[in-house]
């Protein structure tokens, strides 16, 4: 098999790159033995550049805001391509605090948002509960971030897969076993169990597994474990996303569909350990029930652990690698769902035009001294 582009990884990022590239006229093959079974399976789907913004991560914030801006058109294009409308939940996000320290942390966060020119409103506890009556009376204060939205990754992934296939992307259900090289140049992927896909360029979009594809350069990408819970029976409990600091620990509650709720997520450095643990589930339930007591009555339908692709500065790796013909679309850490539209657009531009677009410039692997 020969094509213009071989994409290793059929998660949200890999498919978005593939779809965008195919729409730009390239022939694309995606290699994945189980598309959609990785990080997107556990993601809550927060599109939350503002409430995720971290000190010293302003370049990442700009990237995230630019991707959020593209979301409505991205979902429109998906709907046009597939007939399936993936809904965007536009009720916004409340970031709530519990004790004095939590409320002080919120005030600091709001100051930081102000410096960045982001629109955030401070609400006293009473006002926060007027907006979300499910909140505990113990919530002391909140920030309202109208612009932080959400989408269900379990609806988004199949829609993106269907759109990619409709645009001519071939999906090979096999594990990418290694990078093929011809001289110094990447020229395709070897498949687990034999066979290969030869290509003019290769995109590495293997999420947490991106750091160690045989034949590819080692990358500073590590698995950051996250455990999440899915619950049922939450119709009417929350309008939008609620994020909370509970005695210094973070938890979020994201409504999904008619009556679903996702509660997440632990952040654990444990390598590729996929175990759902008693302690992880306990902490999530404990904090979620503290913030929204009605969670206690919901049905717990699923517990799950997956790995975010973490990098040393929490920002993605976008663009050329040290190997000609191999480009990177990985390291999205906590922002994979959010960065899906823009990553596809930027990488397709790079593949077609041969030059890294300006928005991707701060996110080269060379910033880590790797090449």
């Amino acid at each position: 098999m020969t094509c213009d582009v071989a994409v290793a990884g059929g998660g949200l990022v890999g498919l978005s790159v593939a779809w965008h590239a195919a729409r730009r006229g390239l022939s694309v093959t995606v290699v994945d033995d189980a598309p959609g079974s990785g990080a997107s399976r556990a993601a809550a789907g927060m599109l939350a550049p503002v409430s995720e913004a971290g000190y010293g991560e302003e370049a990442l914030l700009r990237l995230c805001l630019a991707s959020l801006e593209r979301y409505p058109a991205f979902l429109d294009a998906l709907a046009a391509a597939t007939g399936v409308r993936v809904p965007l939940r536009t009720a916004g996000t409340l970031v709530v605090g519990f004790d004095d320290d939590d409320v002080r942390a919120l005030a600091d966060l709001q100051r930081f948002h102000g410096e960045l020119g982001l629109e955030v409103h401070r609400l006293p506890g009473r006002e926060a509960r007027r907006r979300e009556p499910g909140l505990s009376p113990r919530v002391r204060g909140a920030l309202h971030v109208a612009g932080d939205l959400s989408v269900d990754p379990r609806e988004l992934h199949p829609a993106l897969l269907a759109a990619a296939e409709a645009a001519g992307v071939r999906v090979v259900r096999a594990r990418a076993a290694g990078l093929l090289r011809d001289g110094g140049r990447a020229c395709g992927l070897a498949l687990d169990g034999g066979g290969e896909v030869r290509a003019g360029a290769v995109v590495l979009a293997l999420g947490a597994h991106s750091g160690h594809l045989p034949g590819a350069p080692a990358l500073p990408v590590r698995p950051v474990k996250g455990q999440i819970l899915r619950l049922r029976g939450a119709a009417g409990l929350l309008d939008g996303t609620v994020r909370a600091l509970v005695r210094g620990r973070s938890v979020y509650l994201v409504p999904q569909g008619e009556d679903g709720l996702v509660v997440g997520a632990t952040v654990e450095e444990r390598g590729f350990d996929a175990a759902v643990t008693a302690g992880g589930v306990h902490d999530l339930l404990h904090d979620a029930i503290d913030v929204v007591p009605g969670v206690s009555e919901l049905e717990l339908t699923e517990t799950l652990a997956r790995w975010r692709p973490g990098t040393p500065d929490n920002a993605p790796l976008l663009g050329p690698s040290g190997v000609p013909g191999l480009v990177l679309a990985t390291g999205h850490h906590r922002n994979g769902v959010l960065l899906t539209p823009l990553t596809g657009e930027l990488l397709a531009e790079l593949l077609v035009a041969g030059e890294r677009p300006g928005l991707a410039a701060p996110f080269g692997v060379e910033r880590f001294g790797c090449s």
Copy 2:
């Protein structure tokens, strides 16, 4: 199909009755669409007459002690019949207390045990931790009950099913849809989806569903919901069963197999609601981690809810019903696994000899004014 005895329900109790009756020479048919999928699926398998003993339940205690006495021979007979040895965990049980109120409750319990002549030893916290080093340093005191053992119901049920079939019991995989009557007398079971099993006598062993078999008299049996957790990675964490009062709430931790642990159980009056809830799982994890902090690191492999067959006085219904030919083996509430051997023995005796054995005498349905 005609036989001597039709048993409605292929759980532990129904199968034990069937197996004992078949060994006494009766032809037996068991009717169950999914044997082993009921309460035994969620049971932790504690054989714990002493630590379960409740005030005012002395007759039940004697029944439970008599059944525990039979367990070794019962498992020997099962092993002889099937070649499968279901292990009896003989490390005993620690009942531990956390705060002052918990420790006072333990002292009361020990006094009660003393009045009944039961062998129980009081241990200070330090001694309890010497016996079970996994216990939290916050455990203030404990009772050691050497005689309270455990068995894995998920090993016991298939062994009992195999033994029953080897003894000639026929198992019909259908739901019992109603009691057949001939004049006033029970004469078999109608099957869901058509067909029937005609029999000289019918045993009602439908667990929590025993109260409302069409054609049978209404019985004071109600579903008492219990949620449990199964965990993995517990090798070496606990030697025997640990039961705890944590600020007045009960939790138990029962080691199973090489590295399993069962944590249970909620006690909820919610009718036939099978939902695993956020609140139920939270409370079990919270209390279990309080008592044995190492639980936090274990893998949570399963959450499950089932229904105990509860009666007004927590004791079973054994023996004749108001309908000639219909006998009862139900209402075992929290003691189903423990009472499995003796229930089979007593009911087989009743079916063969036509008279209720003395041990079963206190457990007639007539004590509730039903007939």
